[in-house]
């Protein structure tokens, strides 16, 4: 309750400050979302209204700041005090120097040039229970210090985060993850050159996987987060109506010998894709994704999992090299209506997900979105596990 009051106070303060200071900008949006599980059409899966307010501004030429505060009312919760959630999204202060920019505070950190699937995008977690068209819903900002250094060519990024924030996964099994697994730092370094004919970056990261390992521990399950070291790179080669881009990493896990069946082996993860933009009204992105596990003995790992004899841990398809494909289509049906469609297909398990929606700009800054999110695949596969979570949804959103 105290936390909610504090957030409310911050919102009022933001609104007040924005009225007093001309160099402070205040904006936000209000949306209502209804999602219905296609397997249980009589009850809504997700039904909420979401108010997001942003205050941003500058103090002179050197200091900037931003705060995004969210109020969300979940209509599926009967208790009105419980139904209302108030929380900050981004909260940070910027310093702009001549050759150095510094950002301190809660922020989004994104790496990579591929679409949707970014092997280098390792800092911030996903909220898989809250997928929507807004990044504030499905990605979770984290406290971090980011230094951006601008020498005469290219730029460096140095990132430190004091704690690990794991993915939110809509599985009751994972819901019991305790905070004891947190309090772990992450470090990252990136060098990028965007102004050459081929834009490219190289990356180094030391931190933690965002998925827990499901590890039997006495009568319960423990969920440790294993260490991860990543070295990677990406590139984009743009033409007039196309762009070729790729992104690849080598992940060094905590199972260097490959003998722990519950931890990912060291692996190489890469994405190669092409954007095709034949006209203003249509664009297509297709990508092939490859993950190759090193030191992997599929039969030994499968046997080791079976030897655990724990029904809560089912063996899945284990192959040394996995291929996937993704596509992303944007198509303007009319001036104010567009269609977007994303799909991913995994070759090994033949599982897939497909998200498509129509977006209608019904007035300036107001959009009606309707779509569907579908999963399918064999039990135990990435998307097969969500086969019961198929959803159709509708969202009305207006910005101010």
């Amino acid at each position: 309750m105290m936390r909610k009051l504090l957030v409310m106070l911050m919102l009022l303060l933001c609104a007040g400050v924005s009225r007093l200071r001309a160099d402070v900008h205040f904006q936000g949006f209000l949306k209502s979302f209804a999602g219905v599980n296609t397997h249980q059409l009589t009850s809504s899966e997700r039904l909420y209204s979401h108010l997001q307010m942003q205050i941003s501004g500058r103090t002179g030429d050197r200091i900037g700041y931003r705060a995004d505060l969210i109020g969300r009312y979940n209509y599926r919760i009967k208790d009105r005090t419980e139904a209302l959630a108030l929380y900050p999204a981004e909260l940070y202060v910027d310093y702009y120097g001549n050759w150095l920019d510094v950002r301190v505070g809660q922020q989004y950190l994104f790496w990579g040039r591929a679409d949707w699937i970014n092997p280098t995008d390792v800092f911030i977690p996903w909220d898989y229970a809250n997928m929507s068209s807004d990044i504030e819903d499905y990605r979770i900002p984290i406290p971090a210090l980011k230094l951006s250094i601008f020498p005469t060519s290219g730029h460096w990024e140095v990132i430190y985060t004091p704690r690990l924030v794991p993915n939110e996964i809509p599985t009751p099994l994972i819901a019991s993850v305790t905070d004891s697994s947190l309090g772990k730092s992450q470090y990252g370094l990136r060098y990028a050159n965007d102004l050459s004919r081929v834009g490219w970056s190289v990356y180094a990261y030391r931190g933690w996987r965002k998925y827990p390992e499901v590890r039997p521990f006495l009568q319960s399950l423990d969920f440790p987060y294993s260490e991860l070291t990543m070295l990677g790179g990406d590139f984009i080669f743009p033409g007039e109506k196309w762009a070729i881009k790729g992104e690849g990493v080598i992940n060094f896990s905590s199972d260097r010998q490959g003998d722990d069946p519950l931890v990912d082996n060291d692996n190489i993860h890469g994405v190669l894709g092409v954007d095709w933009i034949p006209g203003q009204d249509f664009s297509l992105n297709i990508q092939i994704i490859v993950r190759h596990y090193l030191n992997l003995d599929p039969e030994a790992e499968r046997q080791a999992i079976q030897d655990l004899a724990d029904p809560r841990i089912a063996p899945t398809t284990i192959t040394a090299t996995n291929y996937s494909f993704s596509k992303l289509i944007r198509y303007n049906l009319t001036n104010f209506i567009n269609l977007q469609s994303v799909a991913v297909f995994n070759m090994a398990d033949e599982d897939w997900f497909w998200l498509s929606f129509l977006n209608w700009e019904i007035a300036d800054a107001t959009h009606l979105t309707m779509g569907a999110l579908l999963f399918d695949g064999p039990p135990g596969s990435d998307f097969g596990n969500s086969a019961d979570a198929d959803q159709v949804f509708l969202q009305l959103k207006t910005a101010f």
């Binding site: 900037g64 990044i135 951006s148 102004l195 743009p238 109506k241 762009a243 001036n335």
Partner: protein, 261 residues
């Protein structure tokens, strides 16, 4: 062919004539294009898009451009101001002499800068009826100009000049088989144009509804492009126009694009 980027938009319309003794369309256009003197520009740009049924949407953009007088290469940075759902979206274009333009898009909703394909000059500008080519400065050598006639049009004595692509590449890139310009005799401003698609059909009409004097020259500050095939109209309005103010090169970088409004 090297189409110029957006910010040279009024340059093609900023047709400044002094000696009006030209007899050919080529001479008139050469005289006009060689008289431009804009090296930097800042302005607020409003786009009003209207369908045939009267449904309208507005876009407001703040833009900056800078042209190197030695190389004639242009840098341009543009930020959406309205509507609020796309406020802060930024677009940066950097021209090079020996390779395709660099284009960067900053989407605040995604918190990312993306280096993107240049999409060609025939792509529409901000979903309007203006293409990047329409609002750029054509290379004189890319087109063949013919003076069709002299007539009074909309009460103005004008030269009527037909521009046809000099090569099939120009035709393919622009999507036009010809463009007819009405050029006022008194100051060589282009106040009306008609664009014909590759099949030779009339596709669009441009009317310049307002000129203002900027640094002593007539400058097109309000114009309407009507796509007669889909019956869609785009009105482009320039406000708070300032030219030749010093803008440092460091302003036209991905770093500044991300910094936002």
């Amino acid at each position: 062919m090297r189409p110029k980027v957006i910010i040279s938009i009024p340059i093609i319309l900023w047709i400044v004539g002094g000696a009006f003794g030209q007899e050919t369309g080529y001479d008139i256009m050469k005289n006009a294009l060689n008289r431009t003197t804009i090296q930097s520009m800042e302005a607020d740009l409003k786009l009003i898009l209207q369908t045939g049924t009267g449904d309208t949407r507005e876009r407001e953009i703040k833009f900056y451009s800078k042209t190197d007088p030695g190389t004639d290469l242009t840098k341009m940075l543009m930020r959406f101001v309205y509507p609020q759902d796309v406020r802060g979206t930024g677009f940066l274009t950097l021209e090079y002499a020996d390779r395709p333009d660099d284009r960067f898009l900053y989407m605040p909703a995604l918190r990312r800068i993306k280096k993107i394909a240049s999409s060609g000059s025939g792509g529409n500008f901000m979903s309007s009826d203006f293409t990047y080519y329409d609002i750029g400065t054509p290379e004189l050598a890319d087109w063949t100009y013919a003076l069709l006639r002299e007539e009074s049009f909309d009460g103005i004595d004008a030269y009527v000049i037909e521009a046809t692509p000099g090569t099939s590449q120009v035709r393919e890139d622009t999507g036009y088989s010809k463009i007819i310009h009405w050029v006022a005799k008194d100051d060589l401003r282009i106040y009306h144009s008609e664009y014909f698609d590759q099949s030779g059909e009339l596709k669009k009409r441009l009317n310049v509804e307002k000129f203002e004097r900027v640094n002593g020259f007539p400058f097109a500050t309000e114009m309407v492009m009507h796509d007669v095939i889909i019956d869609h109209t785009s009105r482009m309005i320039f406000e708070n126009l300032e030219v030749n103010n010093p803008i440092p090169d460091s302003f036209f970088t991905p770093r500044m694009l991300q910094r936002g409004l």
